[in-house]
Symmetry: C2
Subunit: 181 residues, 2 copies
Amino acid sequence: MTTRRPFVMEEGVAILARTPATLDALLRGLPDGWIAANEGNNTWSPFDVIGHLIHGERTDWMPRVKIILEHGEERAFDTFDRFAQFAASEGRTLASLLDEFATLRRDNLRELARLRLTSADLDRRGQHPAFGAVTLRQLLATWVAHDLDHVVQISRVLARQYSSEVGPWTAYLRIISGQQG
Amino acid sequence: MTTRRPFVMEEGVAILARTPATLDALLRGLPDGWIAANEGNNTWSPFDVIGHLIHGERTDWMPRVKIILEHGEERAFDTFDRFAQFAASEGRTLASLLDEFATLRRDNLRELARLRLTSADLDRRGQHPAFGAVTLRQLLATWVAHDLDHVVQISRVLARQYSSEVGPWTAYLRIISGQQG
């Protein structure tokens, strides 16, 4: 069994606050081929993912927090557009996207802190357009896990560029062999 | 089909040089519960993984490069101890492990640069104790992919701590639902 942690605001925020610097350290200045790499078909490149994270900062996480606090279950969240980044990021540089993500995240975490949410607030419910009732705690835990999911995705996309180049070592590299381990 | 990149020294080194700062940004100063979290049974925590990366810097990657250059296929690589970090990291702080990893990596990349490996060098072969003949190119590509595999692992371990806390969103989080996507 995986160890589990209950959602605790300071601990969740500790991850959220680190994601921009983590992705900056991983991606800024990398050769363009890495930044544009993907897993085929309509899968996303690291460049696409940063645009997606920016769109989440603008339209998803904090806006939904506010909908819950202001409207509870009476107003469903707006649907999140998972493809908005393709138009929004066009012509941008990765460096400017990383800068924007860092700024938006910092502002959003400041706003979250200003709300001084209590444990009772975290139990408040909102209306997800697909899932129905969700809690504010679930929304915030998802914000954290969603960040990490995309750190995984970016690292996986990069690693798989060397799927052929690693030769027999593919057997030991779970990220290339496809086993999650 | 995943886009693929051939191994190019500067591109591979660009990733290798970023890994210590990436993991530093993600992990340094995180609450202890995150650092010690794992996926159950004998799976590794972020703390364990950093120790493993340190052991690789000391005994695996550059030592194997040198064995190939000096002995070719005549001398098999030493077996890599995947569990050495449990004793070696005991009593250490995460901060000191991150510092050590960064120092070792920087030194190893300096040494790699000093070798001024040519494309012909990258075709030279060594003897892996399990796989048999491998090339220096495959070894270096594996070093890169191995870094990224462990960035994936650490991010996955962290995300899965919130497996219950995300509620119905688990359906959208591939890292928790177990689908690699």
